[in-house]
């Protein structure tokens, strides 16, 4: 080791395990030191990501350590290697070399099996069960226990998704430690003592009540029980026995029956690594895949359980063409020809609008971007199926696109201070929340929001109260603790996609970042948002962050694509495309994975547009109204790359081989029929092209936004605040009732003063937007900003974009009662 090696600074300890000498950093646990030299010590409770517990006692080893005089003296009894740290000169003998340790481990195994049922044949864990494996390795062939085993009623439903078989539990406390230390949702805990000790649902009448109570009445589900965690599925994965199972997978299959394929979750912009287990072409379950730089060991419940959407009965397998008002199944060539004919007519007429949606891979988004520019000759393309603005586009083009790996998960974990604006760590971030929670106590977290959400509360965040739409003013005038904290080296400002709806907010965030030196990161919600920005699936952006309005940038892209020019006319954004299609200014729409309920007015636009082509996995509302429907593959049936919010390329291979085509292949066929060689027929070709294009030169980028803050609403007006909850009625969560059962109840929130003014005590509120019918949901009074009403964006009974036809930050009408 040289002097510059950072490892040299670490204190090390040298010890002997099974006769082999090993040098490890001070403070290492014996079990980790043994792992390093390939010595396996059986264990149940030990998990590298959790704090040591020493609960199962399976890892007992013989330890001898030097005393004060330096004589190596053995401990009188075997010690748990998962809780004991190493010391210099220690001599450890595991079950491989010490009869005493072997005897101790066998004794523990026998004790663990006393109350463990012998139901391996019908247990879900059978075949991948550490207890089963170790019992086969070192257990007795015959049990000496002749009495009746302890039995419990089974299964105990901790939530609609997580089921507990208490008789199988070996009380290792991995699940309770995970929920306390990692997720922060102590919804299960150890109860009782001795032989009756068991894991149970959280109950203040038992020991170890930590004083936590749910954030408010709204935090409880319909049954009145405290809701479960957004990360509860991880406890199923780390359970070393079959005690915790999920309703979705329970008794569905056997581990040795499954084919496992690595993949990337399509549910959020974190790009969590997952493992898809499938058989006979059907996904049975998804597990977290360990990825130390992104999601570590964990994924959200949405990543884990929401996969059945793609195998619903309305899954499309054949192209559909509307004939005599009915959609009929036709061959691919016929459908492509029909789509091309319609798009050609519209292109030569008033034009085509392209709405790819925010869930695409980089390759698919690139194909959309190229098809729009080359085959349809338009910049009317916008992948943002949500509130969008020109300011946001300028921000994305100048700051995000082509910037490569910016702020990473590791940076976020190490940041001394984090300011979140328009971003809810738990609801919109998923595993981002878990990473930030790792630094609980070491990191100052500030959140600019109308109220302290449960996720922010678990991060011990300081609330910077702000009504939606007023974020720009807050950021511009930020002083005091928050400002000083952001001046620290490595501080991070997180802006969410919701800021697009607030004029001036992103401009203010950029300014604040420059003033404080804090790094700025944009964390959108959907998996394909960052990829779409990189691929140029926005009206004013060409691939790599090149501005469509800059002639040199257009020329560079045209040269790379081998064409004379790319369209220079300014493109319409999503709202303008919807408006133009509704008014007849656009004759056709090419729509990808967009739910009409996410974009206000899209349903009307599709009805009014002369010709609609839909690329869909399922027979969605768009497909139902389209003239040509081209079926495309869901993420598990195709290969591709998601670009996560860090800017990290998250490539994944096909998990289940089917004949479903990716969007980029379908668009390649479509372009060929339109007389253009798109060259997006294969993943390799697309990626080579993207790599060759590279990121934009600074002079080719759009200018940073300089938008002004919006006007404050009139006094007495109530402004809408809203964001998506992690588990809601999103299209990718269809067909999973167990998961839906763990979602948070739909409630509206308003402040005590606003409630007083409106005369609200308890019951329901009716919130009406500008043109919509409005929603009626139960409401709760929350400690929050006055003159604001909060609604979940797409939870049961509260579909804001569709029912209210407005976006957060706008004034709404609130009425007490139905």
């Amino acid at each position: 080791m040289t002097a510059t090696d950072p490892k040299a600074a670490v204190d090390t300890v040298t010890l002997t395990i099974d006769g082999k000498e090993v040098t490890v950093p001070k403070g290492t646990l014996i079990i980790r030191a043994a792992e390093q030299i390939g010595i396996d010590i059986p264990r149940f409770c030990d998990h590298p990501a959790l704090e040591p517990a020493g609960a199962c006692r399976q890892c007992l080893v013989d330890v001898a350590a030097p005393d004060r005089e330096g004589n190596v003296r053995p401990f009188p009894k075997p010690q748990a290697s998962c809780t004991m740290t190493v010391m210099d000169g220690m001599v450890v003998n595991t079950q491989h070399t010490s009869e005493e340790a072997d005897r101790a481990q066998k004794g523990v195994m026998e004790l663990l099996l006393i109350n463990h049922p012998l139901d391996c044949p019908v247990c879900d864990k059978g075949g991948e069960c550490p207890l089963q494996n170790q019992a086969m390795n070192m257990g007795r062939p015959e049990s000496r226990f002749v009495d009746v085993k302890r039995v419990f009623e089974k299964p105990l439903a901790l939530s609609s998704e997580i089921l507990l078989d208490r008789e199988r539990c070996v009380l290792c406390q991995r699940c309770t430690r995970f929920s306390k230390q990692i997720a922060g949702d102590a919804f299960i805990d150890l109860q009782n003592r001795g032989a009756m000790q068991q894991i149970g649902t959280f109950d203040e009448n038992v020991l170890d009540f930590d004083g936590y109570s749910p954030a408010g009445p709204a935090a409880e589900d319909e049954s009145g029980r405290a809701f479960s965690s957004y990360y509860s599925g991880n406890t199923v994965q780390i359970c070393p026995v079959g005690a915790l199972t999920s309703s979705a997978y329970r008794f569905r299959s056997r581990p040795f029956d499954l084919v496992s394929s690595p993949g990337i979750s399509e549910h959020d912009s974190s790009g969590s690594a997952i493992r898809t287990d499938h058989r006979r072409g059907k996904i049975l379950r998804r597990m977290a895949h360990k990825d130390p730089v992104v999601n570590e060991d964990w994924i959200t419940d949405k990543d884990r359980f929401a996969f059945s959407w793609q195998n619903q009965a309305d899954r499309l397998t054949r192209p559909l063409v509307r004939k005599d008002g009915e959609l009929v199944e036709v061959s691919w060539p016929e459908a492509i020809a029909a789509a091309a004919a319609g798009l050609k007519a519209a292109r030569d007429g008033k034009g085509v609008g392209v709405l790819p949606g925010g869930r695409l891979t980089l390759e698919d988004a690139y194909a959309y971007a190229k098809l729009a520019r080359l085959a349809l000759g338009t910049n009317d393309i916008d992948a943002r199926a949500r509130a969008a603005s020109a300011e946001e586009q300028a921000f994305l083009g100048s700051t995000v696109a082509g910037a490569g790996l910016g702020v990473t998960f590791a940076d976020l974990e190490k940041a001394p201070a984090v300011l979140m604006v328009g971003f809810e760590p738990e609801d919109e971030g998923g595993v981002v929340f878990l990473r930030m929670r790792k630094s609980l106590g070491k990191q100052q977290v500030f959140t600019a929001a109308p109220f302290l959400s449960r996720g922010a509360e678990k991060l011990a965040a300081t609330l910077l109260p702000v009504a939606p739409g007023r974020e720009a003013g807050l950021l511009d005038g930020l002083v005091g603790d928050a400002f000083e904290a952001l001046e620290a080296d490595g501080a991070v400002i997180i802006v969410g996609e919701r800021l697009a709806a607030t004029p001036g907010a992103l401009t203010a965030a950029l300014k604040l970042s420059q003033k404080t030196g804090a790094r700025l990161v944009w964390i959108p919600r959907r998996a394909g948002e960052r990829g779409a920005v990189e691929a140029g699936a926005l009206p004013g952006l060409l691939p790599g962050g090149r501005a469509a309005s800059v002639a040199a940038a257009r020329k560079a892209v045209a040269a790379a694509w081998g064409v004379e020019s790319v369209p220079s006319a300014a493109g319409r954004d999503v709202d303008a495309i919807v408006a133009a299609a509704s008014s007849g200014d656009l004759e056709a729409l090419l729509v990808g994975g967009v739910s009409p309920s996410d974009v206000t007015g899209l349903t009307d636009a599709i009805d009014k547009a002369g010709f609609v082509v839909s690329l869909e996995v399922r027979r969605s509302a768009v497909a139902e109204a389209a003239d040509v429907v081209l079926p495309v593959a869901p993420p598990s049936e195709k290969a591709g790359t998601f670009v996560n919010w860090e800017g990290r390329l998250r490539s994944f291979a096909t998990a289940i081989a089917t004949d479903a085509l990716s969007d980029h292949r379908v668009l390649d066929l479509l372009a060929r029929e339109l007389g253009v060689e798109l060259g997006t027929g294969s993943i390799g070709a697309v990626n080579a092209e993207i790599a060759a294009l590279g990121a934009a030169a600074d002079s080719h980028r759009p200018k940073a936004p300089t938008a002004k803050a919006g006007r404050a609403p009139k006094k007495g007006d109530v402004v809408l605040a809203s964001w998506h909850q992690l588990i809601d009625e999103g299209a990718l969560q269809d067909g999973e009732p167990y998961l839906a059962g763990t979602g948070r109840a739909t409630v509206a929130r308003l402040s005590p003063a606003t409630a007083d003014r409106l005369g609200f005590a308890e019951g329901a509120l009716t919130v009406t937007g500008e043109g919509g019918e409005g929603v009626t949901v139960p409401a709760v009074v929350t400690d929050m900003v006055d003159d604001v009403v909060w609604l979940p964006t797409k939870s049961p009974g509260s579909w804001v974009a569709q029912e209210l036809r407005t976006v957060p930050g706008n004034v709404v009408t609130v009425k007490v009662g139905a």
């Binding site: 139901d119 044949p121 019908v122 039995v151 299964p155 008794f251 299959s253 056997r254 040795f256 029956d257």
Partner: protein, 229 residues
């Protein structure tokens, strides 16, 4: 004439010359040698007086040995609920890949077996089955056993893939056709240990409410018997 042919001829010539053939059978006496040409009839005559072993198979069906590995059967508990829980261990044990199982969840409206799951689809392909019985050993609830039925031939492939209804044990007297709820107050463990011995009143009432025409209801059984008479 090749060399090989020549060798053949020479060897042939030597055959029997150096050592003539000698039978290993004991030599018979003079009478024996005299009767040798008709001795074979003695065997025929002797067998006239022995019991016959010919089985008149299609007309007379002889039962095989009690542990004969014949067609499978999916058994029921005494109240008519199915024993199969759809765990698929039989399919896993099968060396010939002859068994296909798809399980489904029992619901309060349709409880087919005690516990949480039942086998919704159960197929055994008798063109593949080698009757080894490993599936029987694998079954954790003794739902799958083998009968002595050996008549497993047919004119079509499809016909030899036996479905669940072909394999399910017939309902014995007093059993109630599934689906119906479990005996109140019992668990799947009680069923497994044999503590459930007959149909409970509540189960009959449930079936009466949901399927009043079910032929396995006591009142309908009487009617059915009268009709037969």
């Amino acid at each position: 004439m090749t060399d090989a042919d020549e060798t053949w001829e020479v060897n042939r010539a030597k055959d029997g010359q150096e050592k003539p053939f000698e039978s290993n059978l004991p030599k018979k006496g003079a009478l024996g040698q005299a009767l040798a040409p008709v001795a074979g009839f003695g065997i025929t005559l002797r067998n006239f007086f022995k019991p016959t072993v010919t089985e008149q198979y299609p007309r007379v069906k002889t039962p095989p040995m009690p542990r004969y590995h014949g067609r499978h059967q999916l058994n029921r508990y005494p109240d008519g609920l199915e024993k199969c829980i759809g765990c698929e261990l039989c399919a896993w044990a099968c060396p010939a890949d002859a068994i296909y199982v798809e399980a489904d969840s029992n619901t309060p409206d349709a409880q087919f077996s005690p516990g949480e799951r039942y086998g919704r689809v159960y197929q055994i392909n008798y063109l593949r089955c080698i009757f080894c019985g490993l599936c029987i050993e694998a079954c954790p609830t003794r739902a799958l056993t083998m009968t002595n039925d050996y008549e497993l031939a047919g004119p079509t492939r499809e016909g030899l893939i036996y479905e669940k209804q072909d394999l399910l044990a017939p309902l014995e007297d007093g059993m109630l056709q599934a689906p119906h709820p479990m005996v109140p107050g019992t668990t799947d463990g009680d069923y497994y240990r044999g503590d459930v011995t007959k149909v409970a009143k509540e189960q009959t009432a449930w079936v009466r409410e949901h399927r009043p025409d079910d032929p396995t209801l006591p009142e309908n059984a009487v009617m059915a018997a009268e009709e037969t008479r």
